[in-house]
Amino acid sequence: MHDLALAFITAVQLLLSFDPALVEIVLLSLRVSLTAVGLAALIGLPIGAAVALFRFPGRGALIVLLNALMGLPPVVVGLVVYLFLSRSGPLGVFGLLFTPTAMVIAQSILVTPIIAALTRQVVEDLWAEYSEQLRSLGAGPMRAVPALLHDARFTLVTAVLAGFGRASAEVGAVMIVGGNIDHVTRMMTTAIALEVSKGDLALALGLGIVLIVLSLSVNAATYIVKQRAERRWA
């Protein structure tokens, strides 16, 4: 119990002090995870919609694969990205290993299947309702994609938030491809892991609380915007 109380005090102190080192870590965490989720949405939303609307051989297998990839182990993704980006790897020439870009790549790979799989389900349900009307108006599956994504936007926000949750909470992938380098690739989660291994549990827990508050804030802000828009558009 003592540790927990100490952790809360540390967390409050951390937040109130606006410690520049902490601010740096928080901003990098947000930047990396939000960029990764943005990229994953750009890729995952159209893929999910396409799988929902088109019938092709192997579609069932692809759906199973997408759903399974939602549970990709971050350390494995980190390791594979590491192998690709390391000096001797196929993408080694770009010198991306141990940079924020490498962390964005790894997190995008983790988040894309989540957004694609959830989008597939949402759009497929909506297409069941819209299909006849849209086809009657002259929109085949291809031309229906933008309208369906637009009309499913409130539900899809939840899919994107699930992706953000995954990105902001994982440590395995960013640790491997980022290396937890101070002032360069140190994120909230990697900092927590580091403090735990150093034995400073209070600081680790304090950072953890800050991370949870951050995640809550992002979700709360999204919820408010979504509620307003939903009330406006039914």
Partner: protein
Amino acid sequence: MGVSIAMNAPDALAAPASGDGLLPVRADGLVFEAHGKRLIDDVSVVLQPGPRTVVLGPNGAGKSLLLRLLHGLIKPTVGSVTWALGNADDVRNRQAMVFQKPVLLRRSSAANVEYGLRLRGMPHAERVERVAEVLHRTGLRRFSDQPARLLSGGEQQKLALARAWALKPDLLFLDEPTASLDPAAIAAVEDIVQAMHADGTRIVMVTHDVGQARRLADEVMFMHKGRLLEKTPAATFFQAPESGEAAAFLRGELRW
């Protein structure tokens, strides 16, 4: 066992029209089966330009399915639908359908009407003008910036009609468009259908409301158990229907 009915001027079909009209459309031996059940049973029919056709029949007769087969939303198990126009895109673009439950997009009323026009590649200025025109004629202008999904049921169906009207279709299919509306909204929908017909749109409407059929029909197609039993001028149909089933249906006695 199905009854083939080619009415009006069957001779005109020997040589399908080579003009630019969408009609006549000819359905040949349509059969539609699902889950081992024959839901449409050998229906052949020709629709010429002109009259308002009402498709009557009890629930489960296959009226809505026949509309979907003609409109091209579903493919027949056997049989074919042949239009006077050769180009499939033109055939699709020159007809429209209004459903029992209107499916409106989550955007403004005006944007809903505009959506169909955009799919047809109409330039922006022309779209804006057309949208304003149909919203005015359907009495929905004051809702044009409002979210379509927040309109009442009757207004939503009027908006669905406005969206179809904006396309200025040669042929409009309506699938029980007033099934869940109150009398005032029913009258409004019927007025729009009449106005579209006066504008030159061929009307084919499914209903099981005999009163509505009397008000709107120039001719009646009566369906029962997946078969088209008759296609008769309205006056004849309501006085002396050809089939026993239609007579029983009109007396409210049809059991199936």
